[in-house]
């Protein structure tokens, strides 16, 4: 189930450049590559064998198709990403998904978007109690289930 390894077959520089285009800078936050998220993405991707293989394959494919990606300008980079997205949607999805996961677990991002950043448990959330009055209209309705 868990590979628990760090994937050393991924070019961290290509990933960082890719991240910069996927999630650009906003307000006082730099783009995702500049935030230094590539290392965490590589670590997390190694936590399951199946995903690790898909992600490594995706990054390998992307890098081999676009050997000059890092030195290309933004417009060319975006075109390369869109071509990869179109031609290899499942591979691209693995890159996009883990990029979003790692970006949105970063405390700097939480602070900017006003997200608590807590894990779902153990604290949970507060909800207002059940209010019976909302059923007032439905309780007036005649039964309409089908008699057998």
């Amino acid at each position: 189930m868990s590979a628990n390894t760090t994937n050393t077959n991924i070019d961290q520089n290509v990933l960082a450049a890719l991240l910069d285009r996927l999630i650009p800078a906003i307000d006082d936050l730099p783009s995702a590559g500049q935030m230094g998220l590539a290392e965490e993405i590589i670590r997390l991707s190694g936590q399951q064998d199946r995903f690790s293989k898909i992600f490594t394959n995706a990054m390998g494919s992307f890098a081999s198709i676009n050997p000059n990606f890092i030195t290309s300008d933004g417009t060319e980079q975006d075109a390369a990403i869109r071509a990869f997205e179109s031609n290899s949607p499942e591979l691209f999805d693995s890159i996009l998904t883990i990029s979003y996961i790692v970006y949105y677990k970063d405390e700097r991002v939480h602070k900017r978007i006003g997200w608590s950043g807590n894990t779902p448990q153990p604290d949970g959330n507060e909800m207002e109690p059940w209010d019976e009055s909302i059923l007032e209209n439905m309780r007036k309705r005649e039964p309409f289930w089908r008699q057998v």
Partner: protein, 541 residues
Amino acid sequence: MNTQNATAEETVDILVIGAGASGGAATAWLAEAGFNVKCLEQGYWQDPSKYASASKDYEFEMLTNWAPDPNKRQREEDYPVNDTDSPVTPVMFNGVGGSTILWTAHTPRFHPSDFRVKTLDGVADDWPLTYDELEEFYDLNDEVMGCSGINGDPANPPRSPRQMPPLPLGKDGRKLISGFEKLGWHWWPSDSYINSQRYGEGRDACNYCGHNHMGCYQRAKSSTDLTYWPRALRSGATIETGARVRRITVDENGRATGADYIDAKGNERHQSARAVIMAANGIGTPRLMLNSKSDAHPEGLANSSGLVGKNLMFHPFAMISGVFPEKMETWQGPLGNIGLSQEFYETDKSRGFVRGYTYQFQRSLGPAWIAKGGFRDPVPWGEGHHEELQKRLGSVMGMAVIGEDLPEEHNMVDLDPELTDSHGIPAPRLNYTLSKNSRDQLDHAIGNAKKVLEAAGASDIHVDPMMRQSGWHLMGTARMGDDPKKSVVDKWGQAHDVDNLFIVDGSVFVTGAAVNPTPTIQALALRTADYIVSNRQDLKG
């Protein structure tokens, strides 16, 4: 495979295969009645404190090590399912508690009409039992599992009081409901096997973490490892985990004698029993029966009808979601346990299809879940990403359509000629096509869902016309009936061909209704167990 090295075991009265929703219920009932019951479960006990919801990497875990699809989860205890020829992928969990570990615990009941579709609508077959015959077992199951909900639903017959009041609707739930109210369409608070207050043994109230579909850290969501299994074990039942069953064994007359299995250490073993109960779900049970060919059962165990594995039913799901202008903290509260609508549940042939559907209301979760898309396409990357994320976060609500999928023999589970599990046992293969009637239901539901969302104030409505990862409800693959030529088990779940073989999971469903099936599965399991207690004392050693 020879079993010469198998360790001799005590012969038990009843051997149960699978420790999930139905296996737990049947085991507890029989053990409390004095039967010597043993269960073989290929998975393991779960520690709620280690569920993914308490991990900082919970979003990643949901896609991988805790994914509901076994083909993505790929734990040692999982088996692969070839779903290449199915637009719906299977969803299940292998462990004590089975799929109740990862379910949302949304627990409506079948309607009385669901048991009489042939008589009422001229399609499929009637069940060999009625809602009234099953009602007392629904009630018993509610008591053990613990149901939050409220009486008075005009879409359903009157019934016994729930154990707890409904879960609160929340700002988001009330907003969605306003659309139904404006249209004058039915809605009602969900029945959920989730504690709205403390209930059961060591089970706290829900703390609305929103991630009940990934295991409940709080033990507020009911799963059979927390409900039926403690009772079963106290009554003397035993369970062996990490035990993968290779085949059900039979004697020269074709009667079940137990099971060959591989234990957690990899040893080939045999467990002998006076009767066997299959509770391995609507894919696992036919897989095992088809893997249990013998001279007495050359087409697979209890398969003289040829129907083992046939008539596979899912509930094809469509998902319609919208973005509301308000921020409603939609990540607070169980994901799919707000309410339902059964305005279009019963047949109205003027709609162009038979049978009907339920809407199950859906929340949305945190920023990573939203960015990945949730029920929608992912938030676009690049320019405009941040604006779109902010627009959706806390503002997306959805309606899942659960349509009634009628049985068709060509929809089936069989054995893959090449794919095997980690022990070399042939894996199941799905062959499933959505029928025109089911497609017409979904399309009708999509149109009406748009009206609801718009009436409630949502915009940017997104439609997933059929969710791929939606095979939660696995039904029909060893159907019950009175005629041995047209069914695998009788009205008590006893195999027509083998009088000491019983099936208690969703395989026995004749039709699937348009609601989540687990309360019905468990009620049927209790009914079968009650039949054994009352009529099969010969199975006691």
